[in-house]
């Protein structure tokens, strides 16, 4: 494991370990009073109001830019509960959300055990008192879920995670038709279009349950169990508490758990050397044998137009090479195959890009069309034009004026039209537009397919070219690479995209013969020395004892 990998692993382990400790209150809840309300109001003003609004209506200054949008407390509708569908949450449910946050959203953990400037338990209870004061539903004792037997509990019998249990859960997944929305493989690709909205009028984007970092209310089997036993209020996600037995739901939760992707933890992609032709089929044995590298991507928030609601947050890359060419297989989840592009619908970022503009981020809704049949899906590989000397590289976002980069951008609409689908660009920083290479220098070719919510794109090029604006693939060198990605139906185009920072690819050179030679020599010399010493020692004292 690389140093950075183990570091991340430890941080994550600590984080998740901490979450377990933090989500349950250590003692009884202090009674709400005028004092706790006042304390809660002060905390709310400082820590919550900028997203949730001064009135708790989810309309704070940052709200428009977020998807999912901050919760509107005035409706008394809460997504993550341990109560029956449509009911109010228990206080402990709110405590859990405030303490541990909602993964993959702007709602972060506020527990003082998790963050240094966090809130102590009493402070969290005080702010919950205040949040509850926004919705009159909480004042009605008839609606109190704990007093009316509306709490959902975990099953008494909870057999541990096993393959048999997962197989049983898969059957439940099939017959309960979870796949109708979530897709056969859980990638959130079940729906045909954005035909439904949540209670707040925003289009529903179905959760891809294979990406654990996006699972909002917890990735443990117990958490998953609660989601389909309580439903997600305000969304089409129903409760299966009546349709499925406790046992079935527990098996289903284990199956969903089994779908969660385990991220690789290295930053260096090893391109595997092969004899003969590199096939366009991603299921080919050579591709299966190439070591995958998961690349995390994030919203392009470095320059206006900034985007903090990216759709593509991970792509898996593999690379193969033979004596002539190198090929990259890039796979990423995208619930819709977007293969059209209307350049007239593109966003003009001029207004939000100026100094003192209202905000340089693109709003979650209304600014760019986040709909089908508008923008294409695309992916780009980025390399430095010149191999770095030492560790110095171009800036990971499109390079800089003195350090240009070389981009290979694959575009789905071109692929669909059957024309050359990769465009080679050069860039010197994000301020200048990218420069398309001349036709006779366009040497990257690609094949692509979209299946069950996943794109697989293979891009290939000769190892060496005679273009001085191209990256050259030299064996045994660390060649920096980054990814840029666009999900058309998420409104992404131009700089509204997701991107990664520098990783690198290395073409595994065969181990030089000299290494074996040195090793053999060392063994022989040491062996001979030992033998000679033994002989000498024996000769000195006479044979045997």
């Amino acid at each position: 494991m690389s140093c950075r990998g183990s570091f991340l692993f430890i941080v994550l382990a600590l984080y998740w370990g901490g979450v377990l400790a933090a989500e349950i209150p250590s003692g009884p809840r202090p009674a709400a009073s005028d004092e706790t309300l006042a304390e809660g109001a002060a905390i709310y003003l400082q820590r919550c109001s900028f997203c949730h609004g001064l009135l708790g209506d989810g309309n704070g200054p940052a709200a428009e830019y977020l998807d999912p949008r901050p919760r509107d407390f005035t409706l008394g509708t809460f997504k993550f509960r341990t109560t029956q569908s449509g009911e109010l949450p228990r206080d402990e449910d709110l405590f859990r959300t405030v303490s541990r946050g909602l993964s993959g959203t702007a709602m972060q953990a506020f527990d003082s055990d998790l963050i240094k400037n966090g809130l102590a338990e009493n402070e969290r209870w005080a702010v919950i008192d205040y949040i509850k004061s926004f919705a009159i539903e909480f004042e009605d004792p008839e609606l109190d879920p704990t007093k009316n037997g509306l709490v959902v509990t975990l099953p008494q019998e909870r057999p541990p995670y096993s393959e048999a249990l997962v197989a049983k859960g898969k059957e439940v997944f099939e017959h309960a038709k979870c796949w109708e929305c979530h897709g056969k493989l859980g990638r959130g690709d079940g729906q045909e279009s954005f035909d439904r909205t949540d209670d707040w009028g925003f289009p529903i984007r179905i959760r891809n349950v294979t990406h654990p970092w996006k699972i909002k209310a917890g990735i443990k089997v117990e958490d998953i169990y609660m989601r389909f036993s309580t439903g997600v209020n305000g969304t089409p996600m129903p409760s299966f508490v009546d349709a499925l037995s406790e046992e079935e739901r527990w098996a289903l939760a284990n199956f969903i758990k089994s779908l969660q992707h385990q991220l690789t933890d290295h930053q260096v992609l090893k391109a595997k050397g092969v004899e003969g032709e590199i096939l366009d089929d991603p299921t080919d044995v050579n591709w299966a044998a190439a070591e995958p590298m998961d690349v995390r991507l994030t919203g392009q928030v470095i320059a206006a137009p900034r985007w903090q609601n990216p759709s593509i947050e991970m792509a898996t890359v593999r690379a193969l090479y033979n004596e002539n060419e190198i090929a990259f297989l890039i796979q990423w989840d995208d619930p819709f195959k977007d293969v059209t592009h209307q350049s007239t619908a593109e966003f003009n970022p001029q207004e939000i890009s100026r100094v003192g503009g209202f905000n340089s981020y693109v709003a979650a809704n209304g600014m760019v069309p986040r709909q089908l049949e508008t923008f294409r899906d695309a992916i780009a590989l980025q390399f430095p034009v010149k191999l770095p000397e030492g560790t110095k590289k171009p800036h990971f976002f499109r390079g800089d004026s003195s350090n240009p980069v070389h981009l290979w951008q694959w575009q789905s609409d071109l692929a669909e039209a059957g024309t050359a689908s990769v465009k080679e660009f050069n860039a010197r920083g994000w301020k200048q537009p990218t420069k398309l290479q001349a036709d006779d220098q366009q040497q990257v070719t690609a094949t692509a397919n979209w299946d069950q919510g996943r794109w697989s794109v293979i891009m290939r090029r000769p190892l060496l070219t005679d273009d001085r604006n191209d990256i050259q693939f030299i064996k045994g060198q660390f060649i920096p690479l980054t990814l840029n990605a666009w999900d058309g139906s998420n409104g992404e185009h131009g700089l509204v995209m997701s991107l990664s920072t520098w990783h690198s690819v290395i073409l595994e050179a065969p181990i030089p013969l000299t290494v074996y030679l040195y090793t053999l020599l060392a063994v022989l010399v040491t062996g001979a020395l030992g033998f000679w010493l033994a002989r000498k020692e024996q000769a000195r004292t006479g044979p045997g004892v």
Binding site: L45, C51, G60, T105, K116, F358, E508, A522, A534, V545
Partner: protein
């Protein structure tokens, strides 16, 4: 019986093992205790080599200190070579040692697939403009004239808020039917100020404190709109965008980040971002934007005010020359 003559040999072996274990595992374990970081600081390979070399030299000096010492040390070696521990032991020993050496030679010479580490200076000063050293945050050092102007605005209930917070304030005002817009910022200093305002005698200190609250209110809104995606609600560098960056956004609540620099430095970093950094700070890995391209100076200073407040830190005081 005389004392076993193998003691010196084994004490040398044991010393080597103990020293190796200390460097390999002891120092990293201790480093976690000292630094409080969630990961150990490992000893670099070259340093490890130097330490082990020094140990070997010391042991060599010890062993060759006298004829007697050397004889003691060599005693079990000679016995082994003569096969006095058994023919099989000798055969195995003579085979294993060359193989171990071969393994080491292979390991050293084989090309490594480890990416070269790039060291990074977090707070570079090589291109930090000296004039910024003593730059003061105008919102932490409001002038009497500014305070008087604020009091005037408060008197006529027409506080000039930044446009970003105005819509939320407007809906709050409509719903709450409050007497004064500043009531939206329901903190003790603002309440005290509003009381004095009603009574008609306002002290400048109360007004200064209330103005500070108003600026913090605006700064927090700007922070949550602009910086929160990466640096997080918590200012701990754990925002929803943070996981995608190899160089993680800075954790402001950590000792040793914004606490150790002057405000002028923070302002320079916020304004010029990653591309403004010198080479030793690996600007190519930094996702920090060039905020002077989008935020006004006032907005940047308000954000810095709120950033220190949220992180519960204070900037370093500039040294006087």
């Amino acid at each position: 019986m005389k004392k076993p003559r193998t003691r010196r040999f084994w004490s040398v072996v044991l010393t080597l093992l103990v020293v190796y274990a200390l460097i390999r595992w002891g120092i990293p374990a201790l480093s976690r205790e000292i630094t409080d970081l969630p990961f150990p600081l490992t000893v670099p390979g070259t340093l490890m080599f130097i330490y082990m070399l020094l140990t070997v030299i010391a042991l060599f000096l010890l062993v060759t200190f006298s004829e007697e010492h050397l004889e003691d040390f060599l005693y079990p070696v000679r016995r082994f070579l003569r096969g006095e521990y058994g023919g099989v032991t000798r055969a195995v020993g003579l085979a294993v040692v060359p193989l171990l050496v071969g393994w080491q030679v292979y390991d050293v010479t084989v090309p490594k697939m480890e990416q070269p580490l790039s060291l990074r200076i977090q707070h570079p000063s090589s291109n930090f403009p000296k004039k910024n050293e003593t730059l003061k945050n105008p919102f932490a050092n409001t002038t009497d004239a500014e305070i008087d102007a604020f009091v005037e605005q408060a008197r006529v209930n027409d506080i000039g808020f930044i446009p970003q917070v105005q819509p939320d304030l407007d809906s709050w005002a409509e719903y709450s039917e409050a007497g004064h817009m500043l009531e939206a910022i329901a903190t003790a200093p603002v309440r005290a100020f509003l009381q004095e305002l009603e009574a008609g005698s306002i002290s400048r200190d109360t007004a200064r404190a209330a103005l500070m609250e108003k600026n913090l209110f605006e700064g927090r809104a700007l922070y949550s709109m602009n910086c929160r995606p990466c640096h997080g609600d918590s200012t701990a560098g754990d925002g929803p965008m943070a996981d995608g960056f190899k160089l993680r956004p800075i954790n402001f609540t950590d000792n040793g980040t914004i606490e150790t620099i002057v405000e002028g430095y923070t302002f320079w970093r916020v304004s010029n971002g990653g591309p403004g950094l010198p080479t030793e700070a690996t600007p190519w890995d930094s996702a920090m934007p060039v905020w002077k391209l989008n935020l006004t100076e006032e907005e940047r200073w308000k954000i810095i005010l709120a950033e220190y407040d949220l992180a519960q830190k204070t900037p370093r005081i500039p040294e006087s020359h």
